[in-house]
Subunit: 267 residues, 2 copies
DNA sequence: CGTGATCTTGAAGGGGGTCAACTGGAGTGG
DNA sequence: CCACTCCAGTTGACCCCCTTCAAGATCACG
């Protein structure tokens, strides 16, 4: 199981210019980027792009497909930190520390550009746009983690799932895909780890959201029927801090039957 | 409560050199850093350094004291993202996006260096050490968030608290302070938000860890009596993923009396 | 000493973890 | 083609742990 298969062979020659074009970075001097070599690599579902704790060799930019980013405690529990999408930059921490702080596993067939680490600093020095790109990617990684914290901070399992789906929907829309017809790439177990839940609870939560008419679920295909409703429900928070000034308090004696979500009751 | 009091007045003139010295960055050309102006600002407990959603004006480096980093959902629920310490760099996202993505509030009397945003990019271009510093700070921010995710992923409240304390202890040790005599700067409510728990549960968890002889608690003063034991207990994971290969399974029919923590039973 | 915030502790109730059984689909080999 | 296996997913049952609400205790500060 979980066979580790780092595929170094089939790498197609490419250049930093391809990467910057993929990321739609306007360049003053395109030729400067062409001089730096890059590699286009293809991976199949299940392949490992890099492994936590190993020596980092390159920076990666996702060209297609979805990776699972995770880190494991020594007990073997795997915490899923993020699911990537086109344009995501992976392995930044490896560049800073020399070691990968997390693992990246392909959830489907993927292709990535790789930029050898020794080339990164010179390129950043030569191309301010690229240096800027690195900073933005780091900020994006922080934002991604912060979003996950927001998800995990939700009290109830249904709200966590709802928040995750809303985020996913937004990202899909940003990619130009449908924000309501989602195709999840990960299995329930990975999703459960991501949300900080048991996988059985994830199943039940899907069921609950479907019962409430917010979505329709068929395995990994999810159709959001009421995006506004889902958004409203996702905003349900833990009871606001005791003294927070402007927090509208309603709470409604709900909680009784739960036939409809508490959405709206929390404003 | 929570009075917003951004104190712009008492700023003492300083320079980027002071910042780099505080961070112990060895410089090839110290004079280059001295030319960039910086500001040393003092804040009192409760003061806000910057506020989520406002226009960012500077990058900050903590010289002394502890800040609470948090972001709020529109419902007024405040999620505490981190507690800072000497040398931490704040406001990086503000530099990238122009807006602060979170708020920083002083939990005690603090002092920070401020570096005006327009000066950041030129300085980074002139001083590679500073550019490197920015990248490292971003990586540190990602690590910090990831550590919090690790904390929040723990099933039980006691384990979450234990993990937090172990991390805090390590950071104190790295600062040259005692790793066993901790003085927490935050109130239970902030700690609860940080750990994703109700504040009553935090109190109870402190009580539990104390009952087990792992520590002694007096309000915000915590003395760790058995650091190894606390570490071992903090490693308790959610049941490892079903198919993880090397995960030693023990589980012990514990859960019965809970007089001693399950530490060790989980290896 | 009084007042308000902070912290602890109690009681009640339910949400979700854990375990387990069952279903269905994919892959394999006969 | 079917039997078999393995894994993903769903659903049920049980019960502990955490949230919520509430009341006390303790602390900080004027």
């Amino acid at each position: 199981m979980t066979q580790i298969h780092v595929d170094n062979r089939n790498g197609y020659p490419s250049s930093a210019l391809d990467i910057l074009q993929l990321l739609q970075v306007p360049l003053a001097d395109p030729q400067a980027a062409r001089q730096t070599r890059a590699t286009l690599r293809r991976l199949r579902a299940g392949d490992t792009l890099f492994l936590e704790g190993t020596r980092a060799q390159a920076l990666y930019v996702v060209r297609g497909g979805c990776f699972k980013l995770s880190c494991s405690s020594e007990d073997g529990y795997e915490q899923v930190l993020a699911f990537t999408e086109r344009g995501d930059l992976l392995g930044l921490e490896g560049w800073c520390d020399g070691m990968h702080a997390n693992s990246a596993v392909a959830l489907e067939d993927c292709s990535v550009y790789g930029l050898a680490l020794p080339d990164v600093t010179p390129l950043a020095r030569r191309l301010p746009e690229f240096d800027q790109l690195l900073h933005r990617a780091a900020a994006a990684a922080v934002r991604s983690r912060t979003r996950l914290i927001d998800v995990m901070a939700a009290v109830s399992a249904e709200v966590r799932l709802a928040r995750f789906l809303v985020q996913w929907s937004q990202r899909m829309q940003a990619c130009g895909e449908s924000p309501t017809r989602l195709l999840l790439r990960m299995c329930r177990r990975d999703l459960a780890s991501h949300l900080g839940l048991a996988h059985a609870t994830v199943s039940r939560s899907f069921g609950a959201l479907a019962d409430w008419g917010l979505l329709q679920v068929a395995n990994r295909e999810v159709e959001i029927l009421d995006l506004d409703g889902l958004r409203a429900y996702a905003r349900s928070t833990r009871r606001p801090n005791d003294d927070s000034p402007g927090a509208a308090r309603a709470q409604s004696s709900a909680g009784g039957d739960r036939l409809r979500p508490a959405a709206g009751a929390w404003r």
